[in-house]
């Protein structure tokens, strides 16, 4: 037997049969394990208990306004590129109770004391890990820390996954976020045909892994992973040229192409709801008829919502043209100045789930073309 001391950054191979032990040790530590599942003809992120809950053999074929789940394509668990859902829902829930207020002698506030769930995310791709890090910058600033996000983020366990078979709407290579996971994980898994290779990213990851039966990763396995990742780089469905961003957008707010794309955009907000980095939220009161009790809730909002920019006298952005422009110039423009990163990881969800199939990589190219001519 080899020396069982595991080091951070070292790699081991884990037989598939041992994956349930890994999940069980997470459960023992009090984690709720969530991961990809084939459900409703899509891939969703939901509670998983065992390896068999994962979408074995599934592939997702993705294109503009198109997502098709195909079964029985291979013998791998982590190969289906995800659907509309992202991990965002676990850190920044779509609907959260913030506090209740009761009119007793005076108004009295009861903050939501519920313990925030302790999630272990199973199967976080490089682009998705990048998007969590982007949201960290929005929710965990030095001058403001979102208490809900923070409580969930601090106790998060991340099992990342190297992405070997990107989908048609993927462009993580352009955004420099993937397909290889670059850190920020507890464990990072790469799935070969009959075995998992696992890299250790943290003390916690090491502790979880130490409860499993593993073998040191051989040079052969490691080079197979590297080759797989190199191949994935060449299989990107799309590309986005970044060198003239963000000024291409922020200096060109009055191009004709904004009108062209506005004719296609339905302002449905799908792109913002599926986007793993979009962070906008709204808040509303739900009160009883006697106005003696009220509950304050936070919900996801979208810059495509006409009410989003409402001030007395009307919306600041009453037209779809200005709303689409706001979205795109924020994602790939102003975001950079706000958070020193783009608000896009190249995951392609906004392309796949746009009912009109609007593709931001094409829109950027069209804007660039108009400037040239």
């Amino acid at each position: 037997m080899f020396n069982k001391i595991l080091n951070i950054n070292s790699s081991v191979t884990l037989p598939r049969s041992e994956f349930d032990t890994l999940l069980a040790s997470l459960h023992e530590l009090g984690y709720l394990t969530v991961g990809p599942r084939a459900q409703d003809e899509s891939i969703v992120y939901a509670k998983i208990e065992k390896l068999d809950d994962l979408p074995l053999g599934y592939t997702s074929e993705q294109g503009p306004a198109s997502f098709r789940l195909m079964a029985g394509r291979h013998n791998r668990y982590f190969d289906a590129i995800p659907g509309a859902q992202s991990w965002k829902q676990f850190l920044f829930p779509p609907r959260t109770h913030i506090f209740s207020a009761d009119k007793l002698e005076r108004w009295t506030i009861q903050p939501n004391q519920k313990q925030q769930p302790r999630y272990a995310l199973i199967g976080v791709r490089a682009c998705e890990l990048a998007s969590i890090e982007i949201q960290d910058r929005a929710f965990l600033r030095t001058d403001f820390r979102d208490p809900i996000y923070r409580a969930r983020r601090e106790q998060l366990f991340i099992l990342a996954v190297n992405c070997l078979h990107p989908a048609g709407t993927c462009f993580c290579v352009s955004m420099e976020t993937g397909p290889k996971v670059r850190g920020g994980y507890d464990l990072c898994l790469t799935e070969l045909d009959d075995v998992f290779m696992i890299e250790i990213g943290s003390e916690l990851g090491r502790d979880v892994l130490s409860r499993c039966q593993y073998e040191p990763a051989s040079g052969f396995v490691q080079s197979a992973v590297e080759k797989g990742l190199e191949r994935a780089v060449g299989e990107m469905g799309r590309a986005l040229q970044l060198d003239d961003l963000p000024s291409l957008l922020t200096d060109n707010l009055e191009l004709k192409h904004w009108d062209t794309v506005a004719k296609r955009c339905l302002s449905c907000g799908n792109c913002t709801q599926v986007c793993p980095t979009c962070f906008c939220w709204d808040v509303s009161d739900h009160t009883d008829l006697l106005a003696q009790k009220t509950s304050r809730e936070r919900v996801w909002d979208s810059c495509f919502n006409p009410q989003y920019s409402y001030v007395f006298g009307g919306a600041t952005r009453p037209n779809i043209r200005s709303r689409y422009r706001q979205w795109l110039t924020h994602k790939l423009g102003a975001w950079k100045e706000q958070y020193d990163t783009f608000g896009c990881t190249g995951c392609g969800r906004c392309i796949t789930w746009c009912p009109e199939g609007i593709d931001l990589t094409e829109e950027i190219a069209a804007l660039r073309e108009e400037i040239k001519t």
């Binding site: 208490p147 906008c280 939220w281 009161d285 952005r317 043209r321 200005s322």
Partner: protein, 292 residues
């Protein structure tokens, strides 16, 4: 990113563990100012909070009415007033502000704040000041007027240009004389006069046009309807007042006050956190872009 508000600390660390949790304040008195506009004078029910709360001219609070929601309201009172009451001059036009209008003295509202950047006080010392505002744009500038009155010798010529739709809409009418006595050139104008009106008629930028300013030593502070702001800026720039010394307070939809919810964005800025007061030089690039 402009760092204008960095010297202003929030009155306390906030409720770190609970998002949007306000502190309660009692309505001490309500002063009607004009039709549909009144000033709510508030005092925190917790004396410790009342003691440590400080704001700078131009900042705002989020006022919360349970069951209705929150509204962003600028403080309109003197930050250094001995009674330390917080004046909020409110135009009752929305859900929340109409709900607040139904409160009586003794009623309770929640306060979060103060938020945002303030009118630059130190940076414009020694300068002539033009305060140009319209309608409900005067209340966020009134704390600045108080500051100037307390420190009158630190400023040069001070001119107030204030416009309202009709004479009945003019706010703080019994204070103009006091301001004049503090050597502030108070110029009031209305869009439409009535039988009683013998003053000026016309819009604020028009009266700015008649003003002779020394661009080398003038600073402009403006707040009001966006169209008025645009023309005030235009007039200021046309007189070669540098864009860095024209200060604008912007209005946007605000929900959190902490640069988190996203609603108030304009370009790279969150108006609630980086604004509401901006030097025009920070906005120049996109201020005239429609619907941006």
């Amino acid at each position: 990113m402009i760092a204008m508000a960095s010297n202003i600390a929030p009155h306390h660390a906030g409720h770190e563990d609970c998002l949007l949790q306000p502190d309660w304040a009692e309505v001490v008195k309500i002063v009607p100012e004009a039709e549909g506009v009144s000033t709510f004078w508030l005092k925190f029910t917790d004396p410790k909070i009342q003691e440590r709360y400080h704001f700078a001219p131009g900042q705002f609070n989020m006022l919360y009415l349970p069951g209705y929601g929150e509204a962003a309201i600028s403080m309109s009172s003197d930050p250094e007033a001995p009674d330390r009451l917080l004046g909020h001059t409110i135009r009752h036009v929305g859900n929340v502000t109409k709900g607040i209008a139904r409160l009586k003295a003794g009623g309770v509202v929640g306060i979060r704040g103060p938020f945002g950047s303030s009118w630059p006080l130190d940076a414009v010392e020694g300068k002539d000041i033009v305060v140009a505002c319209g309608g409900i744009g005067l209340p966020p500038l009134r704390p600045l007027i108080y500051h100037i009155m307390h420190n009158r010798s630190k400023f040069g010529k001070v001119t107030l240009l204030y416009g309202a739709r009709t004479p009945k809409d003019l706010l703080y009418q019994n204070e103009y004389e006091i301001w004049k006595q503090a050597d502030i050139d108070v110029n009031v104008t209305v869009d439409r006069g009535d039988d009683t009106w013998s003053g000026r008629v016309g819009v604020v930028p028009m009266w700015f046009y008649n003003l002779r300013v020394d661009p080398q030593k003038t600073a402009v502070m403006t707040c009001g309807p966006e169209i008025m702001i645009r023309f005030v800026i235009y007039e200021g720039l046309a007189r070669r007042v540098p864009a860095e010394r024209i200060f604008v307070s912007l209005e946007r939809n605000m929900k959190c006050g902490q640069g988190s919810c996203g609603h108030c964005q304009i370009g790279p800025y969150f108006v609630c956190k980086d604004g509401p007061v901006f030097p025009f030089s920070a906005l120049e690039k996109f201020f005239n872009v429609e619907e941006y």
